[in-house]
């Protein structure tokens, strides 16, 4: 495929993600440069690893006989932070809702929130993976990744 075709696909795809990824993702793209051409890829990979760890911890914590809401809140706070830093706004919003139910100490509601957060995470993960694949294709074809309008 031609480089400019790939670049157009990239921009179109990115624009279609506006509901899932907010302006913060664009800020990360701005931080990538020749001295660190893999920056976005690295941050996104870290996000995947970190998120999966937190989701596992949350699942375990909610499975306990005596649920430790303080611990759960701390995990969700972390997840809210990292999703916010990467621009995953739907994940962040799901975390905010989750924290409210933590405060209420409602186990069933928290379990539902966890499902919600998991779902949003898996959605944004698919989108990010597709985006990164497009980036790789552009680079492999000798092109540069076009800047996003923030």
């Amino acid at each position: 495929m031609e480089v400019d075709q790939l670049q157009r696909s990239f921009l179109e795809y990115t624009n279609s993600l506006f509901r899932f990824l907010d302006g913060q993702f664009g800020q990360l793209q701005l931080l990538q440069d020749e001295s660190n051409p893999e920056f976005v890829f690295e941050v996104v990979s870290l996000f995947f690893e970190d998120s999966e760890r937190i989701l596992n911890d949350l699942t375990l914590a909610l499975d306990q006989q005596n649920v430790d809401f303080k611990k759960i809140d701390a995990h969700v706070h972390q997840f809210k932070g990292s999703s916010s830093s990467i621009g995953a706004q739907r994940v962040r919003n799901a975390c905010i809702a989750f924290r409210n139910f933590c405060e209420g100490q409602n186990v069933e509601a928290c379990r539902r929130c966890l499902q919600q957060v998991k779902q949003e995470y898996l959605l944004v993960k698919t989108k990010l993976e597709a985006l990164l694949r497009l980036e790789q294709q552009i680079l492999a074809a000798g092109g540069v990744i076009p800047m996003l309008d923030s």
Binding site: L31, L46, G81, S82, S85, I86
Partner: protein, 144 residues
């Protein structure tokens, strides 16, 4: 003053969030050290509970700036700031505090305690540029 001849600035980044540490690391590309909480940061700076040996003194002396998150388990960024300002060795090192929450009383408290700057997370590209400038200015002042 020949900026190019200066040592690379050294920054200690303190944050319990992996992603945010990565972003700060990028911002400070060449020489940043990371700590995941206040206690570790203090140990790195030779201000820990068990009195450190001289090798940590050398390490601590190289730090040009400390960038710390506010909300961290065990010790808040504010508490870390206080400890740093209490130390005769580290009190002049600029401390920047970051938080995802915009709480004016919190911000004022930190600034009053001597924080150089308070920044809102998530950090934007313009914040990163601002921090780089700040870092360079402070490194120049220190070197002169």
């Amino acid at each position: 003053m020949d900026v190019a001849a200066m040592d690379e600035p050294h920054v200690l980044a303190v944050d319990d969030n992996l992603i945010d540490r990565k972003i700060v690391e990028k911002l400070l590309k060449n020489s940043s050290c990371k700590a995941e909480n206040g206690q570790r940061a203090l140990e790195y700076l030779g201000l820990g509970d068990d009195k450190q040996n001289s090798s940590n003194d050398n390490q601590a002396r190289k730090v040009n700036m400390i960038i710390t998150d506010y909300c961290m388990p065990g010790m808040t960024g504010y508490e870390l700031l206080k400890k740093i300002k209490e130390s005769s060795v580290m009190k002049d090192v600029p401390v920047v505090i970051m938080s995802s929450e915009n709480v004016p009383t919190r911000i004022n408290k930190c600034l009053e305690e001597g924080a150089e700057m308070f920044m809102l997370k998530p950090l934007k590209y313009s914040d990163v540029k601002k921090l780089r400038c700040e870092l360079l200015c402070n490194a120049v002042v220190k070197a002169s």
